[in-house]
C-alpha cells in the first residue's frame, strides 16, 4: 500500500506526466480510503486551474505597469540612448 507521502508525489506527478496503470491504481485505492490525500488532490487540481487562469489572462490580477512606473522607465530609456 502506498503512503500519503508517496501518493502526494504521484498526485503531483500526474500533473506533469502520464502515470502508469499500476501507479494510477495505487493512487486511486489510496484516495478511496484517505480523506487527507483526497483533499490534497483537490487542492492541486485547483492550483492547476488557478495557474491556467493566470496564463490565459482571465484572472482579475492587476498585471499592468503603473503610470508612475511607465514614466520612470521612459525617462531611464531616454537617458540610456
Amino acid at each position: 500500500m502506498l503512503t500519503c507521502k508517496e501518493v502526494s508525489l504521484l498526485v503531483s506527478q500526474s500533473l506533469d506526466r502520464r502515470l502508469s496503470w499500476r501507479e494510477r491504481l495505487g493512487v486511486r485505492l489510496h484516495l478511496l480510503m484517505c480523506e487527507a490525500c483526497t483533499r490534497f488532490a483537490l487542492q492541486m487540481r485547483f492550483l492547476r486551474t488557478a495557474m491556467r487562469r493566470v496564463r490565459n489572462d482571465t484572472s482579475p490580477a492587476d498585471t499592468r505597469l503603473s503610470l508612475q512606473a511607465r514614466e520612470r522607465i521612459a525617462q531611464a530609456l531616454q537617458r540610456g540612448r
Binding site: 508525489l9 492541486m44 498585471t63 499592468r64 503603473s66 512606473a69 522607465i73 521612459a74
Partner: protein
C-alpha cells in the same frame, strides 16, 4: 506564426514601452511577485534591448525577442537568489537532500501519513474572482525557494513539458518532478494559511 520572406525591422525604440511594457511587466511580475522588482526588470530589459538592437535578426517577432531578453534576466535573478545565501543553512530548501519540508509534512514514525491533514478549501472557485487572492498566490510563488519557483513558473506559466524542463534546468526528470512536488506542497501550505484560513478559521 511569422514567416516573413525578409527579416522584419524593429519598431522605433520610443514605441517599445507603449507596445510591450505591459506584457513585459506581466511576465516579470507573475514570476517575481513584487511590482517594483518587476518594474526594474522591465527597465533593464528595454535598456539591454536598446544596446543589442543591432543584433535583432528579425527571425523572431519583436515581442518574442524582448521576452527572450527578459527571460535571461529572470534566470540571472533566480541564480543570484539561489547563491546569495551567505551561509548554507542547515536546511537548505533548494537542496532536496537537506530540505526538511517532507519530514515536516509527513510523519515518518506513523507510516508517512500527513502530520496535519490538508483542509477542504471552502468555495475555491470564488477565490479566483478576487484580486486579493491573486496577489497572495503571486506572493506565495515568489516566496518559493528559487529553484522551485523557477521550475514551477516554467511548468505552470510557460507550459513547458518535462523534456524541455530538463533541458532548461539541466536536471534529470525525477529531479524536475521533485522540484515541482515541493513547490506545490509549499504553495498548498501557503494558500491554506494565507487565504483559506486554517489558523484563523476564516
Amino acid at each position: 506564426m511569422e514567416d516573413a520572406p525578409q527579416a522584419t525591422a524593429l519598431s522605433p525604440p520610443e514605441t517599445w514601452l507603449d507596445g510591450h511594457g505591459d506584457d513585459l511587466f506581466r511576465y516579470a511580475y507573475l514570476r517575481l511577485g513584487d511590482r517594483s522588482e518587476a518594474e526594474d526588470l522591465v527597465q533593464d530589459t528595454l535598456l539591454a534591448a536598446l544596446a543589442a538592437s543591432h543584433r535583432f535578426t528579425g527571425r523572431s517577432s519583436e515581442r518574442t525577442w524582448l521576452i527572450g531578453i527578459l527571460k535571461h534576466k529572470l534566470a540571472d535573478h533566480w541564480r543570484r537568489r539561489a547563491w546569495s545565501a551567505p551561509l548554507a543553512p542547515p536546511t537548505d530548501p533548494d537542496s532536496p537532500e537537506t530540505d526538511d519540508l517532507l519530514e515536516t509534512l509527513f510523519a515518518v514514525e506513523g507510516g508517512d501519513h500527513w502530520r496535519m491533514a490538508p483542509t477542504a478549501w471552502p468555495d475555491p472557485d470564488a477565490a479566483l474572482e478576487q484580486k486579493e487572492f491573486w496577489r497572495i498566490l503571486t506572493d506565495c510563488i515568489a516566496q518559493l525557494p528559487p529553484r522551485q519557483a523557477r521550475a514551477f513558473c516554467l511548468r505552470e506559466l510557460d507550459g513547458l513539458e518535462s523534456e524541455e524542463m530538463c533541458k532548461v534546468l539541466g536536471a534529470a526528470p525525477t529531479n524536475v518532478w521533485v522540484l515541482l512536488h515541493r513547490a506545490r506542497l509549499r504553495l498548498g501550505q501557503c494558500l491554506e494559511h494565507r487565504w483559506f484560513g486554517r489558523e484563523t478559521g476564516r
